[in-house]
């Protein structure tokens, strides 16, 4: 069955919190996070801009682990600015999210690109700190800046 899994509210929130601010409520409920398949979670901007989507997180599987850890497989995260413009798209085959520390990491591959796809980064091994949206890629970092985005004023 490929239908959306029965995901508790807490698991959705925890998933959404992967790369964004996790509310204290999630921490309080994290013990109730359940296994989920093919999940999608949408986060909206705050009270002043509630109709605007801030992020859409999806994954093939979310596996709760002891200690507030959550293994997410086939992660895809889309981040939007307040104007609704797609800013970043993040893809990772697998990562571990620490719901207490608000940190995600993986020894595996990571791809990040801007919404227009003209700036793309990939590498092996990463650490994401959600408090300030700070990403460290550990090894073999390759950035592709597409089609004349640098050094293209020559006639």
């Amino acid at each position: 069955m490929n239908a959306k899994a029965n995901i508790t509210r807490a698991s959705l929130a925890a998933g959404a919190g992967l790369l964004f601010a996790v509310t204290l409520g999630v921490r309080a409920q994290q013990n109730s996070v359940q296994h989920a398949n093919n999940f999608t979670s949408t986060e909206y901007y705050g009270p002043t801009n509630q109709q605007r989507i801030k992020s859409i997180l999806s994954g093939a599987e979310a596996l709760p682990q002891p200690g507030g850890l959550l293994i997410i497989k086939q992660l895809k995260l889309e981040m939007f600015n307040p104007d609704g413009k797609l800013e970043w798209v993040v893809n990772a085959p697998e990562c571990v999210y620490d719901t207490f520390k608000g940190v995600a990491n993986s020894p595996g591959h990571l791809q990040v690109r801007t919404g227009d796809g003209k700036f793309r980064v990939e590498g092996e091994g990463f650490l994401w700190r959600q408090s300030d949206s700070f990403l460290t890629i550990s090894n073999n970092v390759r950035t592709v800046v597409e089609n004349g985005a640098i050094m293209n004023t020559m006639p």
Partner: protein
């Protein structure tokens, strides 16, 4: 302070250049690649990236290596407009005449902006900057590669000559001799040295 400026194209240009309109007949431009052996940090809120450890920039118009590089990450639809490279900066580029140039410095700063329809794009080299091509080597306190106008500007320029000492074997690479004089005064220096340098560099 002495200034010198060199056209790297045959035509004279104003201080800034109007933005070039897209040429639909040109083939798609190859992407720019930035690689680093060690870690890289990305501040997605601040739109900034920091690369460390044998950083390589491979662009169709230049190759750059350095130990550390920080770049603005463009907003969607934008482009990087501020890049700083530090530590053993080496830049190789081919100018519009097809001449290869080799530049070294401690630091290089790339700036790009468009103001009132005028494109400004510069690469500023500081920290023992030197630039070498087939005609010779020239240094300055600061070297500014004005890409928008295809000019290279030297602050306090000085030529660097390599003496061909008598008895030296062809493979020997003697220490460089550094002079400090305004451009165009090559004839005033010791003829024994100037005889070995050939034509004056075209910087």
């Amino acid at each position: 302070m002495v200034h010198a400026q060199t056209d790297v194209t045959a035509q004279s240009s104003p201080a800034s250049a109007t933005t070039h309109s897209p040429d639909t007949t040109r083939p798609p431009r190859a992407p720019t690649l930035i690689d680093s052996d060690n870690s890289a940090d990305f501040d997605l809120n601040g739109h900034q990236a920091i690369y460390r450890g044998h950083v390589r920039v491979d662009d169709p118009e230049l190759k750059l290596t350095c130990g550390w590089l920080i770049a603005d990450v463009p907003q969607a639809g934008g482009r990087p407009n501020h890049i700083v490279a530090e530590t053993n900066v080496v830049i190789d580029f081919t100018d519009t005449k097809g001449q290869t140039n080799h530049a070294t410095s401690d630091k290089a700063v790339y700036l790009y902006n468009v103001q009132n329809g005028v494109t400004n794009e510069t690469v500023t080299l500081t920290g023992n900057p030197q630039m070498e091509n087939a005609q010779g080597m020239q240094a300055g306190d600061v070297i500014i590669w004005d890409r928008a106008n295809n000019k290279i500007h030297f602050d306090n320029p000085h030529m660097i000559f390599r003496q061909n000492l008598n008895g030296a074997t062809p493979e020997t690479n003697p220490p460089p001799v550094k002079t400090n004089f305004p451009q165009g005064t090559v004839e005033n220096i010791d003829k024994n040295i100037s005889n070995h340098i050939g034509d004056r560099p075209a910087f």
